[in-house]
Symmetry: C2
């Protein structure tokens, strides 16, 4: 059966392979999964959130019980029902001021990304700028939308903006239309690096001058360490150059699958006049998933309501876990690899988020991951997955978000044994 | 901003216009919305379903509390968590035997349809057979997947199979590849007609002989009246010609947004061997919505568990409402239009489902709907929406699923006044 081309790409195999390895070695300690911490998971809170949101609806002027039940249980508004709370959340936590009508509530951030790319892809000349290594799902969504990818050079600090402009110009010279650049400015996946303020401002200027959008993905922004938080691109955006992709999978409840997109760009409509990009995205959503489960939205809405719309506040305990885990991994790496005579291993030092990267003296691809899982009972993510290809590289991603201190210590011991073994073999 | 072509099509405007009219005339009686009956909506039952499913997980051999919470609240399996219960539901309610591994749980039936079309669309030669008038969302999903539409002639009984074969041959002669035919064999939207057993068997034979799939959408199948239920295409399928698209929006809870696809077709994979179409659809889903909210799945799972996996049983009250409403509309139309001297109005007599169609002596498009809503305070759906164009036709759809007996009587009075007024004007 001949199927869509994206199904033959390494990306499509990446997702499968990574899931499957984790399932085959359930007793391995996983530095691979970028999942939120589970220690505070609480189903009773879910029931409570739902009731909190129900009471919120009941308290609205003119609300009657039939209308409350209809909002929660019937087919609903395509753009969602918790858009006002999300707008408030963006203001409280990020200093972003947006009209709630420019928000579309989505089935996770992934649907937000796909909706945006599908909307922007008009012909096969439309292309997306990406800065590898980057989130696997960005490649996947772009391929599913039949959108060409234009890789931009990364630096240890994030993005090589000069290269971005050069890629943009070359693409245009070839008749391509770079419509947007996908970025995670805060604690990016996989490197954990954040863009500095100057780079953020430069990117906004370049996007505005050259007429492309910045797709800002921000799942990790609130999980900063002790440092002051930098403003998001959207908070700095004065020219509607930024489409903001929001996730409640890390800060809300992963199992609700609720995310959103802020798309306040003006779009001309055929019969004259303008609408917002959000309204156009909603049209696509209406034939993709119709609307995001209002029950799932209500659960996230209740959590927002209970914390004054601040997920920074709601995640105080989790943020401490992530900060402590980051510290434990950095200290643990130093204790195991910083001494003389060991294998030449180095790593970067992010200031928050879920991830960091380890440079190794040997290339680590999927085969070596499998060996490591089987023999050393520890999992990591080979870096090639974040380049969208299948070429092993001398770098791996470590995720520490869902581990306990004991698991980190034990896992780093196992990882050190793996690295020592492989370094010996590479040296032979 | 240049956006995807589907955003300029009449389909895209259809969805918007129909929603917007309903919002502008909230006191109009609506024969337009194809929504399930709300009289039994119960949020306390939602809490109970969630707990029922939690206990089901807790009762599994070797289950521990952390694993139960992880299943409900963490990122989950791409293909879903309630696939075993869905397989049991299909067996109990429909006599369909499928491997649970061939099921992908989706964000409503709409995502199931889009996943399938996206997978089948490899080049611009791939096309979808449709039988207008048909569900608006099928046009929408196909356009979003950049898939050509090949209309097949309908008959009062459903599908003109000879025309289907002729369309198929002509399309192939032009270099197109008809990959599948979208159908709702039971109480189809908009006409309420069901295919007879012979047509079902003929379609299966033709699909198998000519090498295309039947995409069987079955949201209304369990809402049959007093008649014996006919087997679904999937229950009769011996050659894996049928991809079954399942919805729990009508039979479960609309606000959960849970549907599924059964795709047990074998697919060759690049490195040799085979997989199932379901596994390929899961790869697409992983970059579209990642996974369907496990909380929403748990609510549907709990409802299934409480009713021995029979939604026929769970919907006994609703089924009676729909049957009584159908009877009330048929009787009410006869009382108002069957006498001598009135306008020449006729209608079909479905045996179940949510819809029927009315033939009018004048063409009724969106402008007339708007006049009717404003002046007569009653809403219907102009038939052109189900042809994917904007040409008014002398036929409208009446939906009766969510109305009370009083609303039906009152609504039919208003509709009769509208029809009398328009018939007078048409005769002048």
């Amino acid at each position: 059966m001949e199927l869509h081309g994206s199904l033959q790409s390494p990306i499509s195999e990446s997702m499968n392979f990574l899931n499957e390895v984790a399932h085959r070695y359930p007793d391995a300690i996983s530095f691979a999964a970028g999942r939120p911490y589970e220690g505070f998971f609480d189903l009773d809170a879910v029931h409570r959130y739902l009731e909190t949101y129900r009471k919120h609806l009941q308290a609205a002027p003119g609300a009657d019980e039939a209308q409350v039940l209809r909002t929660l249980l019937q087919y609903g508004r395509t753009k969602g029902i918790i858009h006002q709370l999300i707008a408030r959340n963006l203001l409280v936590d990020e200093g972003i001021t947006v009209d709630a009508e420019s928000i579309v509530v989505t089935v996770g951030c992934q649907e937000a990304l796909y909706l945006t790319l599908r909307a922007l892809r008009r012909t096969d000349r439309d292309a997306l700028l990406v800065v590898p290594p980057t989130y696997i799902g960005a490649y996947g969504a772009a391929q599913l939308a039949d959108m060409k990818l234009l890789p931009v050079r990364s630096t240890p600090e994030g993005v090589d903006v000069d290269d971005l402009v050069s890629v943009l110009r070359n693409a245009r010279a070839q008749g391509l239309r770079p419509r947007a650049c996908y970025l995670t400015p805060n604690f990016t996946n996989p490197t954990g690096v954040s863009l500095d303020l100057e780079t953020r401002r430069t990117l906004l200027r370049v996007a505005s001058e050259h007429g492309f959008l910045l797709l800002e993905d921000n799942p990790y922004g609130i999980f900063h360490g002790d440092e002051e938080q930098l403003p998001t691109l959207k908070a700095l955006d004065r020219s509607r150059s930024v489409v903001y992709l929001g996730s409640y999978a890390k800060s809300g409840i992963p199992g609700a699958r609720v995310g959103f997109v802020v798309a306040d760009q003006r779009v001309a409509v055929p019969n004259g006049g303008t609408t917002t990009l959000a309204d156009e995205l909603a049209k696509i959503k209406s034939v993709l998933t119709v609307n995001t489960s209002p029950l799932a939205q209500a659960v996230i809405g209740g959590k927002l309501l209970e914390h004054g719309c601040s997920l920074r506040d709601a995640n105080a305990r989790e943020t401490k876990v992530y900060r402590d885990n980051l510290r434990a991994v950095l200290d643990g790496l130093a204790a195991r690899f910083a001494g003389d005579g060991g294998p030449p291993v180095s790593w970067n030092t992010p200031r928050g988020g879920f991830f960091l990267c380890l440079d190794l003296p040997f290339a680590a691809g999927d085969r070596l991951l499998e060996h490591c899982a089987r023999t050393h009972r520890v999992l990591f993510t080979p870096m090639h997955h974040f380049y969208g290809d299948d070429e092993p590289r001398r770098q791996i991603r470590l995720s520490f978000s869902h581990l306990t201190p004991d698991e980190i210590e034990d896992g780093l011991d196992r990882l050190a044994a793996f690295v020592a073994e492989q370094s010996r073999q590479a040296a032979q």
